[in-house]
Amino acid sequence: MAAKISYTDVEVGTELPARSFPVTRATLVRYAGASGDFNPIHWNEKFATEVGLPNVIAHGMFTMAEAIRVVTDWVGDPAAVVEYGVRFTKPVVVPNDDEGALIEVSAKIGAVLDDNKVRVDLTAMSAGQKVLGMSRAVVRLA
């Protein structure tokens, strides 16, 4: 494990570089194939609306995968992530157009722990709504 961020360089409130991740229908089809999650709510508008959703929605695990990139890009070695958890609070609704949706992720140090570890608190928004809650990663720094 080779984190490029030093434990002594961060404090509670230190912000990580924020990122925005676009997601279109094509993104979801590709993620369905790679992850093996072919639930039609992620690609079939007719099915999604029939079960009461506003439209096709992104896989929650896709959003979770995007959000942690803010941490792994910052720390360099993805193996520095020792814990990662989220609550799926609102769906990311993905319209059938060229733009799709945007997942906006920001993150800051929520707590400094022992053993060179910190807790990073993540915020993920889409269309003005918080799509992940209790989104936290514990990361071991250099």
Binding site: S35, G60, E66, V86, F88
Partner: protein
């Protein structure tokens, strides 16, 4: 109908090993748009101290969720999967998943609750490699929304 509380603590047999391939990791990393070379370039992964390319943190969910199918589809438990949504997800890593791993999952029901007509199921998946080393544990909360009264 509320789920049977006596299922709390029930553990299911370990799954047959899932062999993690370099190209499967690459496919997943590309699907989430993540260009970190540790996922695709064995030399870059070695420079970070890993024996081979590693998988992105959420990659293992595909394996643990498939294993959780034993629980979800257990006819004795009687979960209505058509009403299930993913509530929470958490991972605790002992080491990253990497190419060449042969991973087996043991699923355990940690909690069964009913709240406002919703059935809530907490499943823990303990992932071990072929040598028996613990790699990662995944906790998945599934919520079966209350059925509409006819």
């Amino acid at each position: 109908m509320a789920l049977d509380q006596s299922f709390v603590g029930r553990a299911y047999p370990p799954t047959a090993p899932y062999e993690v391939g370099r190209e499967k990791i690459r496919e997943f990393a590309e699907a989430v748009g993540d260009t970190n070379p540790a996922y695709t370039d064995p030399e870059a992964a070695k420079a970070l101290g890993h024996p081979d390319v590693i998988a992105p943190p959420t990659f293992v969910f595909s394996i643990t969720f498939k294993a959780a199918g034993q629980v979800v589809e257990d006819p004795q438990l009687g979960l209505d999967y058509s009403r299930v949504v993913h509530g929470d997800q958490k991972f605790a890593y002992n080491r990253p998943v990497r190419a060449g791993d042969r991973l087996s999952v043991t699923s355990t029901i940690e909690a069964v609750k009913s709240m406002a007509g919703n059935d809530i199921l907490d499943i823990r998946g303990d992932v071990h490699d072929e040598s028996g080393e613990h790699v990662v544990t995944a906790w998945t909360k599934l919520v079966a929304r209350a059925a509409q009264e006819a």
